[in-house]
């Protein structure tokens, strides 16, 4: 898809420049040497700026017509910031998502701590930037992963659900395809995501301050936030598991949802949560995010079956009609209409 190419570059450079990777220093490019020799936070920030999208991802945001809001702070959702240091609670829906990045510990087997730092932070910044593009709010960083919310006062639940699924799909594709290539070339075990998503309606979610003084955050207390975290652990590698409410709020996407028990062949996995006395049975679903992503307006599947970004908003300087010819030449049309 190329939208994360600019994030892949620093990871590649860091890996190539790692003293443990065995590449001779003389063979390193200038940028690789700068990682190897003069590495510091500043160098990293130049490669992957905090509050600026890298060019390909910026084109992607432009294509979607979305602008990321970089002015956010952890643990303080802008729509509920007024609850900080207050004794007020508020009922408001939210989509909760846990993005877990697995396998990064394996990097320590082969690379120095500094290289691992670059790799994991680049992946995390790619996740944050992508989340912000889709209007998400990063509530908490958890190791390499994220706990994010989608939705708020000016967004309806169905839109929040759709945006959350778009983010989860795009980011899963990045990890599954782009990162896989890097790590398989290096012969190390892959890094993969596991994502859990759920929606809690107004009646299900309480917003309020948790903690004391400055050791606090404005957060949600909701069964569905808890379930999102729990469902993440049911996801397969690079998989997304979501709850019944997400399905209810996106009936047009029902073809992409399959109860988890169909995969595991274990009926016990059908419900992620039950209250038998209330006959409350809450189903968890595997989300076929790749098929969903292929159906998005901003994605095209090319002749070879790869996913490509439809770039209509940006000028395609590299578009060359000669590249259509190898496909077009197979056609030999006729006309026999009266």
């Amino acid at each position: 898809m190329h939208i994360f190419d600019d994030y892949v570059k620093p990871i590649r450079a860091a890996i190539a420049a790692d003293p443990k990777s065995g590449k001779l220093y003389e063979n390193l490019s200038f940028s690789e040497r700068s990682f190897q020799k003069g590495f510091d936070f500043k160098t990293f920030n130049q490669q992957v700026p905090e509050k600026r999208l890298l060019p390909n991802l910026a084109d992607f945001a432009k294509e979607l017509g979305l602008t990321p809001n970089f002015e956010q702070g952890l643990g303080l959702h802008p729509d509920f910031a007024h609850l900080k240091h207050s004794e007020t609670l508020e009922d408001h829906y939210i989509v909760s998502m846990f993005v877990d990045i697995k396998g990064s510990t394996n990097l320590f087997k082969k690379y120095t701590t500094r290289t691992v730092w670059i790799v994991t932070n680049t992946i995390q910044r790619a996740a944050i930037h992508t989340c912000l593009i889709f209007g998400g709010y990063v509530h908490r960083l958890q190791g390499d992963g994220l706990f994010v919310y989608f939705g708020g006062k000016d967004m309806k639940p169905d839109v929040a659900v759709k945006r959350s699924l778009q983010f989860a799909s795009v980011f899963s594709y990045f990890v599954k395809e782009d990162l896989k290539n890097i790590f398989s070339e290096q012969g190390i075990e892959n890094i993969y995501t596991r994502i859990g998503v759920d929606l809690g309606y107004d009646r299900d979610v309480i917003w309020g301050m948790a903690g004391i003084g400055e050791i606090s955050e404005v957060t949600t207390c909701s069964l569905h936030t808890s379930l999102a975290s729990k469902m993440q652990s049911y996801a397969v590698s690079n998989g997304i598991v979501l709850g019944d409410n997400v399905k209810k709020e996106s009936p047009e996407l029902s073809e992409f949802y399959t109860p988890v028990c169909h995969r595991t062949n274990n009926e016990n996995d059908r419900y992620i949560f039950q209250i038998p006395d209330e006959r409350f049975n809450y189903t968890q679903y595997d989300f076929n995010w790749l098929s969903f992503l292929k159906r998005q307006d901003f994605i095209a599947t090319d002749f070879a079956g790869n996913l490509q970004l439809k770039q209509k908003a940006t000028v395609m300087a590299n578009r060359n009609v000669a590249n259509l010819a190898p496909i077009a030449v197979a056609s030999k049309p006729y006309y026999d209409f009266k």
Binding site: H2, H262, E267, N268, D269, R270, Y271, Q274, P276, N281, S291, K294, R295, A300, T301, D302, F303, A304, G305, N306, Q308, L309, K310, Q311, M316, N318, R319, N320, V321, N323, L324, A325, P326, I327, A328, V329, A330, S331, K332, P333, Y334, Y335, D336, F337
Partner: protein, 241 residues
């Protein structure tokens, strides 16, 4: 967790049976949808055809996106032994004869002889869309940019049929086509060691045996129609001389 209920077990079994009972078309469509994910299908009982509708995104070999066509494909119930009809619902292609599209948007993907021969062998939906439909629309985008097609095209109407016989079966003049068609459509069998009906003087097995086998699959009616139309042209020409 609750144990599986008989009702749920029934539902699971039903889903499995339904999948098993899917027609060849439906099973092939699932494969095609992976490559062309923005297409959907339904069954139209009135016209007794599968109707595929949706968007076809065109990218070049570098994966660069070019445009999206809204299309409809009608697939006869005889699938895979059929020729799907493809129409463009968007109006990106000019509705002019030189663009090989009818005023209603029906796309002339190939000379009917090739399509029919393909249908006799049985088509595969994914291959058909890749090889005939995708390339047709990519070619139209090429022409929109360059004012010409990337490869060659058939002439319109009967001239295109004659071109088909010339290019596919190496029958370089109308007399040779007529002679071959007369022999194929006559009751007598063409012996493999007999002189080739094209008039080359070679044995048939060393000349047009393969073409004869292919042409026979098109059906006698089609060949008789070609024979009649081409003969009329030859007669008209000789009368004019």
């Amino acid at each position: 967790m609750l144990p599986i209920s008989p009702r749920l077990r029934l539902q699971v079994n039903l889903i499995m049976i339904l999948n098993k009972n899917k027609s060849l078309f439906e099973r092939d469509f699932i494969v095609a949808k992976d490559r062309f994910p923005k297409l959907d299908y339904g069954w139209n009982a009135e016209i007794k055809m599968w109707v595929i509708t949706g968007e076809l995104d065109i990218c070049d070999v570098e994966g660069i996106y070019w445009n999206t066509f809204q299309i409809t494909m009608l697939v006869p119930r005889g699938y895979p032994y059929c020729v799907p009809i493809v129409a463009e619902r968007s109006t990106i292609i000019p509705r002019e004869i030189d663009w090989h599209i009818s005023p209603e948007g029906v796309c002339c993907l190939d000379v009917s002889h090739n399509l029919k021969a393909m249908s006799k062998l049985g088509i595969n939906l994914t291959s058909f869309i890749s090889e005939k439909v995708y390339s047709y629309f990519a070619n139209q985008l090429y022409k929109l940019e360059k004012n010409k097609y990337a490869g060659t095209e058939y002439a319109h109407h009967l001239d295109g049929v004659i071109q088909y016989y010339a290019e596919t079966h190496y029958l370089q003049n109308k007399e040779a086509i007529i002679s071959l068609l007369q022999q194929i459509t006559s009751k007598g069998k063409i012996g493999r060691n007999a002189p080739c009906p094209c008039g080359s003087g070679k044995k048939t097995k060393n000349c047009h045996q393969s073409s004869i086998d292919t042409l026979k699959t098109l059906g006698k009616d089609k060949l008789l129609s070609d024979l009649k139309n081409i003969s009329e042209i030859v007669q008209l020409k000789s009368q004019a001389v």
